[in-house]
């Protein structure tokens, strides 16, 4: 399988935080979610991959053979958007379009205008326009997304695109992901970060889990759902089941947690019910395990 990005041992040292070594893949043709708690290193990794932040060591290989993120050909192929204040707040949609049109070779003003109308942001060609600072957080993010999606890119890298969107807008974002990927089937890819996967599950094909600056699990969602199981049981069996589970939580009457599918047989002897986990349940289980290991 081709990878849009192959991350080989990237590290970044800060005074109080160390990212990596990160080894991960962003498969070509799919939407990859970078999942982790706040402070896991998702934004740092995305910033490094997009040339916003320098790395201490390691390498990222883009589209099979490109490694220099300062190369304009590569910049043009990547559509990056940060989670907040991506553009100066005093800018209008027209200024955004003027700037992005000059900043990249593949910006389509007509498409930007269509996207702005679709996102109910108004017409960027209109004379009287609101500044970004006057828009709600959700509409700011819509404006950022419109500017990125109006470019003919091959890889979208979005940092927390859903965090400021309402449920309806998140649903639309999932549809946009599907549209983006299907427009050039197999050639385009998406990498987005999130710490709340529930609303984005429908749009996620591949997941990379991060905790404490490191990748702790990754794979296609369908494969992960085969690798792990969701286990329920009565509280009286929790202590017996716990050694065979990755993470477990419960109350007075019942427990629930994630276990490796290979332990399903053993767990069934403790009168437990086994289900296929959702990506949200999988995320909670895997990240909780990482948190417990760190303590």
């Amino acid at each position: 399988m081709n990878n849009a990005i192959e991350i080989n041992g990237i590290t970044k040292k800060y005074k109080d935080f160390m990212l990596g070594e990160v080894h991960a893949s962003v498969p070509c043709g799919f939407a990859t979610a970078l999942i982790g708690a706040n402070g896991a290193g998702k934004t740092t990794l995305i910033d490094i991959l997009c040339g916003v932040t320098g790395k201490t060591s390691g390498e990222a290989v883009y589209f099979g053979n490109m490694t220099d993120i300062d190369n304009d050909n590569l910049r043009n192929r990547i559509g990056y958007c940060s989670s907040a204040n991506f553009f100066p707040l005093e800018w209008t949609l027209k200024k955004v379009a003027d700037s992005v049109e000059l900043g990249f070779d593949n910006f389509n003003r007509q498409r930007f205008s269509e996207l702005c109308k679709r996102f109910k942001l108004g017409d960027p060609a209109e004379k009287k326009q609101k500044k970004l600072v006057q828009l709600s957080d959700g509409n700011k993010m819509r404006a950022y997304l419109a500017s990125v999606l109006a470019r003919d890119t091959e890889l979208l890298v979005l940092d927390e695109p859903a965090s400021s969107l309402d449920p309806l807008a998140r649903d639309m974002l999932c549809d946009l992901f599907r549209e983006y990927l299907s427009e050039r089937d197999g050639e385009r890819s998406i990498l987005f970060s999130t710490h709340n996967i529930a609303d984005m599950e429908y749009a996620t094909d591949y997941a990379v889990f991060m905790a404490n600056g490191k990748v702790i699990e990754q794979g296609f969602v369908e494969d992960l759902k085969e690798k792990y199981i969701l286990v329920h049981g009565d509280a009286e069996n929790a202590d017996k089941a716990r050694p065979f589970m990755i993470s477990c939580s419960g109350g007075r009457t019942s427990f629930e947690g994630i276990a490796l599918a290979e332990n399903a047989g053993m767990l069934s002897t403790f009168d437990t019910a086994v289900e296929t986990p959702t990506l949200q349940q999988l995320s909670v289980g895997i990240l909780r395990k990482a948190e417990e290991d760190d303590q």
Partner: protein, 230 residues
């Protein structure tokens, strides 16, 4: 490898939304309006105290007020624009790092901004000169004052570049107005000392040009090393 074919004006437009010419025009008009507003305000005060237009105008023109206002208002314009930053953590900072040309585009934008500032300074000084030549408000030593104020404010542009070596933004913002006004002050005083002799002013202007170029290069090199590549 980058193949950055952007012009200085285009690079400036990517960062600010305005081309270099429009930015210079806005700065120049802003400075002229500010200078006019300052003079008008003091003129009204003088008018109320003196009672007649000609006396109020003479009072203002003869005391070096006009020179001081010209230096201060032009200095404020240079200060505001000289302190503009586009760091990663500021709005737009991450976007600017992904546009084509990368740091080369940043360098072009800063050079365009410098040209716009110098152009705006010249525009404000020309307005001051016209105001003097038309007899609206007289400068103490006429065009000589303009040359001295311009020369020392040019020096202050270079100094503001070096202020970027101060990494603490609060300290930098606090010190910059003092540096600009301390540098601009000799531009107001020295024509009196040298009795309007323009040669010293011209010499300072001649020194200021390479000083600005060196400071600009040093500032960009420092920014690339300590901010852009971090």
């Amino acid at each position: 490898m980058t193949n950055n074919t952007l012009t200085l004006s285009q690079a400036h437009k990517i960062y600010t939304g305005d081309g270099m010419g429009l930015h210079a025009l806005k700065l120049g008009i802003g400075g002229i309006l500010m200078y006019s507003a300052t003079i008008s305000a003091f003129f009204i005060v003088m008018l109320m105290s003196q009672g007649s237009v000609s006396e109020a105008r003479n009072e203002l023109s003869g005391t070096g007020f006009i020179n001081t206002f010209l230096a201060i208002d032009a200095g404020i314009i240079l200060m505001i624009t000289g302190l503009m930053h586009y760091d990663r953590q500021l709005p737009g900072g991450k976007y600017f790092r992904t546009v084509k040309g990368g740091f080369d585009t940043y360098r072009k934008m800063k050079n365009a901004s410098l040209i716009a500032r110098v152009t705006a300074l010249i525009a404000i000084l020309i307005f001051g000169a016209f105001s003097h030549l038309l007899g609206v408000f007289k400068l103490s030593y006429g065009i000589s004052d303009i040359i001295y104020i311009g020369a020392f404010l040019l020096l202050s542009i270079g100094e503001v570049n070096f202020m970027n070596y101060i990494k603490n933004p609060a300290l930098r913002g606090f010190l910059t107005p003092f540096i600009i006004f301390a540098t601009g002050l000799p531009g107001v005083i020295l024509p009196n000392v040298f009795d309007g002799n323009i040669y010293i002013g011209l010499a300072v202007a001649a020194v200021a040009v390479p000083f600005i170029l060196i400071s600009q290069k040093a500032m960009l090199s420092d920014y690339k090393k300590n901010k852009w590549n971090q």
